[in-house]
């Protein structure tokens, strides 16, 4: 299958290895991957802040970039929800509504794509260790994607997956919320990290790098050595 990658801006700049891991996994499964280089950001920051005209201006650019793509795989549950759930709302009654809906329909978050679109559960990964999975809220509740990442991780050789009690509790990132209300965001991060630590896991895995940025940030200050990994980084290991 011909797959176009949407690498969100912060993955591009902070976590490029996540994008490279996705390329590795998809190619290992025999697919052809392209990366339209003029893409930037999905527009979520202005959208969440209430600046919908600005968000639309950014979103329109990505709609143009991916106009001819057959299938788009996006490296974040949150940006995936932006495209799949919020683009149609953002462009409601707008001349480009049909285009927004078309992009929403052909865009898939990475784990959702593997499991629900390709029907692949076993990607031939090997990763020894004890890990717990953090559900990004957007992937979990906007896209209803609780199972796919777990189905993939359960088939990774050597990986022991343990559930934390607060798996579905928000890590407190929430985009600009994290800096507009740092005290609330940090407290939420602390609750999350306590639950992660309780599992005794060596790794916390998520399909959202933004959540992992928050979790890593809190864990570092707590002096905890638990490692944070994106799902794709685990699935790329053989």
């Amino acid at each position: 299958m011909q797959i176009s990658l949407f690498i969100p801006c912060f993955v591009d700049q902070f976590y490029p290895q996540v994008g490279m891991s996705i390329v590795q996994v998809l190619e290992r499964l025999g697919h052809t991957v392209d990366y339209p280089e003029t893409q930037t950001c999905c527009g979520q920051p202005p959208f969440n802040a209430g600046y919908w005209d600005e968000a639309r201006a950014v979103a329109e650019r990505q709609m143009t970039v991916f106009r001819d793509a057959k299938t788009v795989v996006i490296a974040s549950g949150s940006c995936g929800a932006m495209v799949k759930v919020f683009y149609p709302e953002l462009f409601h009654h707008h001349p480009r509504e049909a285009e927004a809906r078309a992009l929403a329909a052909k865009t898939f978050e990475f784990s959702d794509f593997l499991v629900n679109k390709l029907g692949v559960l076993e990607v031939g990964a090997r990763f020894p260790g004890r890990a717990t999975f953090h559900d990004g809220c957007h992937g979990l509740r906007e896209s209803g994607s609780k199972k796919p990442p777990r189905q993939l991780l359960q088939r990774v050789q050597g990986l022991e997956l343990v559930e934390m009690s607060e798996a579905e509790t928000c890590c407190g990132f929430g985009g600009t919320f994290a800096v507009k209300f740092p005290m609330i965001s940090t407290a939420m991060g602390e609750v999350k990290c306590a639950s992660i630590a309780d599992t005794g896991a060596d790794y916390v895995i998520s399909n959202d790098s933004s959540c992992l940025m928050q979790i890593r940030g809190v864990l570092d200050r707590q002096g905890k050595s638990i490692k944070t990994l994106h799902l794709a980084e685990v699935l790329a290991q053989t």
Binding site: G50, F177, G217
Partner: protein, 466 residues
């Protein structure tokens, strides 16, 4: 930043630093979660029940004019006096007027968030009437002279020890750690108040259009005493409380108990259809129903957020909200705390004054997921943010957003900015945590990742070249 936002931030800062509070609330809710799930599973289908409840409320709210008329005409037919209150002031004036007209000496009141909303107790006390809350939790916060902490569990933030100290202080009861003894201490006082009161004030959980009755659901029996012992009963009812049919209660009563308190059904469920009728041995001589709008019709006029009027005030959204659990109910500074409060307060009390509540959310959606009547809560927070910006954008933020758009619409500029960021990055440790640190709000409590040496784009190009 306005005064409400400032107070919110200060309180949130105080509460999030209070680990004892966090633990107390977590512990209090752990039991609720277990019971809620147990009783949810007793429904044939909880998702099906939610669909049906949302449908019934949709029907009621979208035909509110018709159902309210039906409700009122049935009530009046049995001699109930109905007052349509456009706002809080009119509602307060009417109730104070009734009390004055009957030369009321003492008032007993059962739990009503709508009464909190219009600050009814203050108005009555200012007019010279004593009002005593008869719900145990409400009585406790009334003695402490503070507003309810949670719209269902008003004294959730207090330990038994604190309540014992309070009762010892205010009621002269013996210090005790035993919940039954504490309840008895309050009960001894409250029983005398019921007997003395000549006016009882209640809210309503539901207003049944078909039969012209209000439904009150409770666990302590205090609402029954409040409404039936005094010779006058006044019920304050928000206009959104309407349900079309009596049989709708078969769904809504267990649903409210399950979502709100983790119970299959509450202990006392009563319908009130009018004052004492000829030949009846008991009940109030007069029954007044005050129907309150107080800007609910503004929510009704907003098609996008109209479903916020579905709310049955169960408090389930508070119980799952990570913001609520960390900042506590008092930080909101509103009658209705948590996600539902953040959604409706801007409508009830002004968007610009209360928009900060919609911003103080990570938009995790736990509220929407749990809401038994399927209010699209967290998306409405987004709508409030959008509406606030539309009406009055913040100058600096608007500038930042415009710059962001400029960069994100020009890939070359975006890449240039990223390169500049990488060049400037080594300087960040020099200013880390100081006023010059642009990342201070983050780095004060969290580490920040470095920009990667090579962006994905660069790695991709290298890979393609090789």
């Amino acid at each position: 930043m306005n005064v409400y936002a400032k107070e919110f931030n200060e309180s949130a800062r105080r509460y999030t630093a209070d680990l004892r509070h966090r633990e107390l609330i977590q512990k209090a809710l752990a039991g609720y979660y277990a019971k809620r799930d147990e009783f949810k599973n007793r429904f044939q289908s909880w998702p099906g029940a939610r669909d049906l409840a949302a449908e019934i409320k949709w029907e009621a709210i979208n035909h509110l004019d018709r159902y309210l008329d039906e409700f009122v005409s049935k009530l009046e037919a049995r001699g109930t006096k109905v007052f349509w209150a456009p706002g809080a002031q009119e509602a307060r004036d009417y109730i104070v007027g009734v009390a004055r007209q009957h030369q009321v000496r003492a008032i007993i009141k059962s739990k009503s968030m709508t009464a909190e909303e219009i600050h009814l107790n203050d108005a009555l006390e200012k007019a010279g009437f004593e009002v005593v809350e008869s719900d145990l939790g409400e009585y406790i916060v009334q003695l402490r002279e503070e507003p309810p902490y949670h719209l269902v569990f008003p004294a959730m933030h207090l330990t038994r020890q604190q309540i014992s100290d309070l009762f010892h202080d205010k009621l002269g009861s013996e210090p005790t750690n035993n919940p039954e003894d504490l309840t008895m201490a309050a009960r001894r006082v409250l029983r005398r108040k019921y007997c003395k009161a000549d006016m009882g004030i209640s809210g309503a959980n539901f207003a049944i259009a078909e039969t012209g009755m209000i439904s009150i659901t409770e666990n302590e029996g205090n609402a029954r005493l409040t409404t039936s012992l005094p010779k006058i009963h006044v019920a304050l009812v928000g206009i959104e409380k309407v349900l079309p049919r009596l049989s709708d209660l078969a769904l809504f009563l267990p649903m409210l108990a399950t979502a709100g308190a983790g119970q299959s059904i509450t202990c006392y469920n009563t319908l009130y259809g009018g004052p004492r009728q000829p030949g009846e041995p008991d009940g109030p001589e007069e029954f007044h129903v005050v129907l309150l709008d107080n800007r609910r019709t503004e929510i009704l006029a907003d098609a996008e957020q109209r479903d916020a009027l579905h709310c049955i005030r169960c408090g389930a959204c508070l119980n799952v909200c990570p913001i609520f659990k960390n900042i506590g109910g008092h930080s909101y500074g509103t009658t209705y705390q948590g996600p539902i409060g953040s959604v409706i307060t801007p409508h009830l009390r002004g968007l610009q004054d209360w928009k900060h509540l919609s911003q103080a959310s990570s938009l995790c959606g736990a509220c929407t997921e749990t809401c038994p009547v399927k209010i699209n809560l967290h998306h409405h927070l987004l709508h409030n943010r959008r509406n606030a910006v539309r009406a009055q954008p913040a100058r600096l933020e608007k500038l930042i957003q415009s710059a962001f758009v400029l960069m994100m619409r020009r890939p070359k500029l975006y890449q240039f900015a990223a390169r500049m960021g990488r060049l400037a990055q080594p300087l960040q440790p020099l200013v880390r945590g100081t006023i010059l640190d642009p990342l201070r709000a983050w780095t004060k409590t969290r580490s920040f990742p470095p920009l990667a040496q090579k962006s994905f784009r660069e790695l991709w190009r290298e890979r393609k070249a090789s």
